[in-house]
Symmetry: C2
Subunit: 210 residues, 2 copies
């Protein structure tokens, strides 16, 4: 768990000093447990969450299906919450912790306030939207123009690069879910990758060979 110090240092790396002070004054810090549901569809929100450590999975449900939107990782916020807060709408999505997660809760009335006072807050908010949009656009293009095996390999490569490892700790089922397909399809593809010498399969994780 974070000490107060590292948590300050982190905020200072993206916000101006005066804003960090305001945050410390006005925001609550809360820790949620792994698998705890923070937000449920239909709920009104009074706080904008900023993750300090851990990770939150954000998804919608549609016709019994869970539609993964994104993960909120440290120093990021959740644009679905932002939209809901700002326009005082019901949340359209759910948020569940992937791990024990420390979150700053910004009371929603400060959002527009800070927009008016702090450039760094403005950039933070806009970047949040922009980054999610780019991410989604990328996924969309992949989904429309690429085959699943390419998408799967891209996912594996991306994961290993971002997390600086060569093992992706997902079951076939979980990977299928990430890509919006079914377990059998993923098993088939991964087996082919293994035969081609591109990966080594273990129970519960996939090892990417160089």
């Amino acid at each position: 768990m974070d000490t107060d110090k590292t948590y300050h240092a982190r905020l200072n790396s993206i916000f101006e000093v005066a804003l960090v002070e305001e945050i410390n004054k006005s925001a609550d810090f809360r820790v949620f447990n792994k698998n705890e549901q923070i937000i449920t569809e239909g709920q009104y929100l009074k706080y904008l969450p900023i993750v300090l450590n851990g990770s939150i999975r954000v998804f919608q449900t549609y016709e019994d299906r869970e539609i993964l939107l994104y993960y909120v990782t440290p120093l990021k916020t959740c644009i679905m919450s932002l939209s809901a807060c700002l326009f005082n709408n019901k949340s359209l999505s759910n948020a569940v912790c992937e791990a024990d997660t420390g979150v700053l809760l910004i009371p929603s009335n400060y959002i527009l306030d800070w927009q008016k006072k702090y450039d760094s807050w403005n950039r933070f908010i806009i970047s949040a939207y922009r980054d999610r949009y780019d991410e989604l656009l990328y996924s969309f293009n992949d989904a429309v123009f690429k085959n699943i095996d390419e998408r799967a390999m891209a996912y594996l490569k991306n994961y290993t690069e971002e997390n600086n490892t060569n093992k992706v700790p997902l079951s076939h089922q979980a990977l299928a879910h990430e890509l919006g397909t079914t377990r059998v399809v993923i098993s088939r593809i991964l087996k082919n990758f293994e035969l081609e010498g591109k990966v080594i399969l273990h129970r519960g994780d996939i090892e990417l060979k160089k």
Copy 2:
């Protein structure tokens, strides 16, 4: 073409009075011709466009393919331009007029300025991002979870509802492009729709039956 009056009335419907005055003082109004390219990939932007009439198609190119992002319609802005302006990055997309189009050009230095002064501007900017995100999310889910015939029908229905007509003025080729597939596939699907009595096909447009 718009007179000054209707153009004022339009801005007043979304912005506070003081902001409309600032816009009139600081922004350029320009008219572009149909098929004129306003923005090219790689270009730096000094202005944020707000469309007053007409329509702008925004797209990226990737491996010889044109990837349609969205259309900018009246009283909307272009979030790709916004991102480029705000972070002083090269534009990642192209913008071409679909029709003769009147555009307000906001010098980029005013964007953050107005964020600090006007609630309505804040909401305008955030809504712009939110709406595009929602739009793209919707398309993404369709692409991943639905068959092309469903997507095609959804497109037709959506078009006729939004434009209050029962004819969609697109060639099969153009519709294929909208949905990221090929002409033959669309022709096949539309022919089926016709046999099922759902549409009537004409050269250059598709008529949706009730």
